[in-house]
C-alpha cells in the first residue's frame, strides 16, 4: 500500500524515532541538512542511534556530541571549510572505550550502499576501495559487532572476480537499510511529493531505502501545484510517511533559493564544540532552552535571518562574507 502521508508537528514526528534506530540524514556536509529534525532528536534525548549520513556535517557532529549516537557508517564528518568536527574527534581520539564507534567509507561506496538499500538488493558492486586501508578487514572498526548487531552486515565488504568480461576483481559493498530517513527540503506536497532545488544529493535514495521517512519542508503545498512540472519533482510520495512544515528547518546549513550558510553559527559552534563543557553550554543555550523550533528561530532573530536570505535566482546570498577569522557581527541574541 502507498504510504498514507501524515502531517504532524515536529514533536510528534520525532516521537516516532526509536532509541537504537539506524538514521539516514539528507543533504550534503553543510548544505540542506535536516537540522530542525535533528535538534528535536536532541531535545527528545534519543539514544544509541546508528548514523549513516553520506557525508555527515554539523548534524552528525551534533548528534555525537549530544550523546545520541553510538555507531556511524559514514565517509566524512565535517563542516567543510568552516572548521573541524570537534565532537566527532573527541569521541574517537585516544579513546579506549568509545561511546561512538566509527566505520569509514567513501562518497561513492556510501552512495552505492544507500542505493542498494533503495533497490532492495543486499549489495552493489564497485571498482573503488581497491588499494585503500578502508577495504582491509584488519581496519574494520565494527568487526566485533557484526555478528551481534542485526543492523550491521556480516562483513564490511567482499571481493569477487568478474565472470563476464575481463575477469577483474570487483568489490561488493553491503546495502544500508535505515530505519528512519530525515530530510529537509524546499517544498513538499500534501500527498508527499518532494521538490528539491539545487541538487538532491542522496535524499531520494535515503527515502526509498528507509522504513520511515520524515520530511520537513519550508512549505507544504497543494499536491496539484507540483503536478504542473513533474520533471522538477525529486521524490515520489510513495515512500514519504510524515511531513512537517518547518521554516528555516535547515539552518545553519544552506538551502538553495531560501537562505545561505550561517557563518555566525559556525563560528560559535566551532568555538563551543572544542570542549565537552562549552559544548554542553552551547547545546543548552541553543537547543534545549529555546524549547522548540519556534524558540530557536526566535532566538536567531530577524536581523540574522535577513542577513542569510538567498537570492531566489542565484540560490545563495551574494553579499554575505564567509571568512570566519574576519567575520563582522550581525544581529541575533
Amino acid at each position: 500500500m502507498a504510504a498514507k502521508v501524515q502531517r504532524l508537528s515536529l514533536n510528534e514526528a520525532i516521537a516516532l524515532v526509536n532509541d537504537g534506530d539506524q538514521v539516514f540524514t539528507g543533504g550534503w556536509t553543510v548544505v540542506r541538512r535536516p537540522m530542525g529534525l535533528v535538534y528535536e532528536i536532541v531535545r527528545q534525548k534519543k539514544k544509541n542511534l546508528h548514523l549513516c549520513a553520506n557525508p555527515g556535517g554539523p548534524e552528525v557532529d551534533l548528534l555525537i556530541g549530544a550523546g545520541c549516537a553510538t555507531v556511524g557508517e559514514i565517509n566524512y564528518i565535517g563542516h567543510e571549510v568552516f572548521g573541524h568536527p570537534y565532537n566527532f574527534r573527541r569521541a574517537v581520539e585516544k579513546t579506549q572505550t568509545p561511546g561512538y564507534r566509527h566505520d569509514d567509507w567513501t562518497v561513492q561506496t556510501g552512495a552505492l550502499r544507500i542505493m542498494a538499500g533503495a533497490m532492495g538488493l543486499p549489495f552493489l558492486p564497485t571498482l573503488s576501495l581497491k588499494g585503500s586501508d578502508i577495504s582491509l578487514p584488519g581496519m574494520d572498526s565494527l568487526q566485533d559487532l557484526r555478528l551481534q548487531d542485526p543492523k550491521l552486515p556480516r562483513k564490511k565488504l567482499a571481493v569477487i572476480k568478474d565472470p563476464f568480461w575481463e575477469g577483474q576483481e570487483v568489490v561488493l559493498v553491503p546495502a544500508l537499510r535505515p530505519d528512519v530517513c530525515l530530510l529537509h527540503v524546499q517544498e513538499v506536497g500534501d500527498k508527499g511529493t518532494v521538490r528539491i532545488q539545487g541538487g538532491c544529493f542522496l535524499d531520494y535514495y535515503g527515502a526509498i531505502a528507509s522504513k520511515l521517512v520524515i520530511v520537513s519542508a519550508e512549505h507544504i503545498v497543494p499536491e496539484n501545484q507540483l503536478r504542473d512540472n513533474p520533471e522538477r519533482n525529486s521524490i515520489p510520495g510513495l515512500k514519504v510517511d510524515i511531513i512537517v512544515e518547518l521554516p528555516y528547518g535547515a539552518h545553519p546549513t544552506a538551502l538553495f533559493g531560501y537562505y545561505d550558510n550561517d557563518p555566525w553559527w559556525f563560528r560559535d559552534y566551532l568555538a563551543a564544540s572544542k570542549h565537552q563543557e562549552t559544548f554542553v553550554d552551547w547545546l543548552s543555550k541553543w537547543v534545549l532552552q529555546p524549547g522548540n523550533h519556534e524558540g530557536y528561530i526566535e532566538k536567531l532573530g530577524t536581523e540574522r535571518l535577513h542577513a542569510l536570505q538567498a537570492d531566489p535566482v542565484k540560490g545563495y546570498n551574494p553579499h554575505i562574507r564567509r571568512r570566519l577569522d574576519k567575520l563582522e557581527e550581525v544581529g541575533g541574541r
Binding site: 543533504g27 550534503w28 556536509t29 553543510v30 548544505v31 557525508p55 565517509n75 566524512y76 565535517g78 567543510e80 571549510v81 568552516f82 573541524h84 568536527p85 566527532f88 574527534r89 574517537v92 581520539e93 585516544k94 579513546t95 579506549q96 569509514d104 567513501t106 562518497v107 561513492q108 556510501g110 552512495a111 552505492l112 542505493m115 571498482l127 573503488s128 581497491k130 588499494g131 585503500s132 586501508d133 578502508i134 577495504s135 582491509l136 578487514p137 584488519g138 581496519m139 572498526s141 571481493v159 577483474q168 576483481e169 539545487g198 541538487g199 544529493f201 542522496l202 535514495y205 544552506a254 538553495f256 545561505d260 550558510n261 542565484k314 540560490g315 545563495y316 551574494p318 564567509r322 577569522d325
Partner: protein
C-alpha cells in the same frame, strides 16, 4: 621578497597543471581555487565536477563546499554522487582528480583519516569523503598540500587514497598499483615549496620545480620531506604573472577565504 605568498604561488602552480578541455573532479579548498584559476585563465573549456553532484560548474563566487549553491548556479545539469562518482568517475570519464590531504608518502599515497593508530588515533580527521574514490578511479590525480616534514612522510599512518604502492586485499601488503588492477595514479604533488612528480619506472616522488624566487631552496625541500627525495632535476618555477595574481585575487578568492590575504 616577492609580492605574493607561498599559498598564492601554490594555487598558481596547481592551476598551471590543468590542461584546457580536461574533465576535472575537484575537492573543496585549494584544489577548487587552483581549478577555478585555470578555468578563468588558460583553460576555459575545463569541465569542473564536484562529488556532491555538480556538473560543469562555473561559479561567480567561490563555493564553500562541493554542494554549495555557488557551484550550482547556471550549471547545465545536476546529478548526484551516484552519477558523478558511480558513473562518470568509475566509467573513466574523469581526466583529473584534484585532492588535498594530511599526509603523503613518496608514492603519492594520501592519508586524510587519522594521525596515529587507526583504532585509537592521536588526531582524527574528517575522513575520505570522495578522495579515495577519486584516487582509485581518475585517469590521473594532482595532490596539493602544505610542505612539512610531518606531512611528507616515510609511511602514511593510514592509507586513505591509493597512490603508486597500494594495499593488497585482504592482507594489506603494499603492492604496485597496477597489480591491484587500478588504472590512473598520482601525477603531481603541489606544495608550499614546489611541484613534485613521480619517476616513470619506480613511481617515486622527485622535485620537478621549486619556488626559487620566494627564497625556497632544495635543501629546504629535503629538510621538510621525511623520505629521501631526488632534487637533481629541479628547476625554478616561473614566477606568477600579473594576470594570474589578478584573477586569483580579484575573481577567484576576493574574500581571501583560502588565500588569507
Amino acid at each position: 621578497m616577492s609580492n605574493y605568498s607561498r599559498l598564492e604561488m601554490m594555487a598558481i602552480a596547481g592551476a598551471r597543471l590543468i590542461n584546457d578541455g580536461e574533465v576535472i573532479l575537484v575537492g573543496t579548498g585549494l584544489p577548487l581555487v587552483s581549478t577555478l584559476l585555470a578555468k578563468h585563465s588558460h583553460a576555459p573549456e575545463t569541465v569542473i565536477l564536484m562529488e556532491a553532484g555538480l556538473y560543469d560548474s562555473y561559479p561567480q563566487a567561490l563555493p564553500f563546499c562541493v554542494a554549495d549553491a555557488r557551484g550550482v548556479y547556471r550549471t547545465p545539469w545536476i546529478g548526484t554522487a551516484v552519477e558523478l562518482m558511480g558513473q562518470f568517475l568509475q566509467n573513466k570519464l574523469v581526466d583529473v582528480g584534484f585532492l588535498g590531504g594530511a599526509q603523503v608518502d613518496r608514492y603519492g599515497n594520501i592519508n586524510s583519516t587519522v594521525i596515529g593508530l587507526y583504532g585509537q588515533p592521536d588526531v582524527r580527521f574528517e575522513g575520505s569523503g570522495g578522495a579515495c574514490d577519486i584516487a582509485v578511479m581518475a585517469k590521473k590525480t594532482i595532490i596539493i598540500m602544505a610542505h612539512e616534514r610531518k606531512r611528507f612522510v616515510e609511511r602514511v599512518d593510514y592509507l586513505t587514497s591509493p597512490g603508486w604502492m597500494v594495499r593488497r586485499y585482504p592482507d594489506g601488503k603494499l603492492i604496485p598499483r597496477v597489480e591491484a588492477g587500478l588504472w590512473g595514479g598520482p601525477y603531481a604533488v603541489v606544495s608550499t615549496l614546489g611541484v613534485m612528480k613521480f619517476r616513470p619506472q619506480t613511481h617515486e616522488m622527485y622535485v620537478e620545480s621549486f619556488f626559487a624566487d620566494m627564497g625556497v631552496t632544495l635543501e629546504e625541500i629535503q629538510q621538510n620531506t621525511a623520505f629521501p627525495i631526488d632534487v637533481t632535476q629541479a628547476k625554478p618555477l616561473e614566477s606568477p604573472n600579473d594576470s594570474e595574481l589578478n584573477v586569483l585575487r580579484q575573481v577567484v578568492d576576493p574574500e581571501g577565504i583560502f588565500m588569507k590575504y
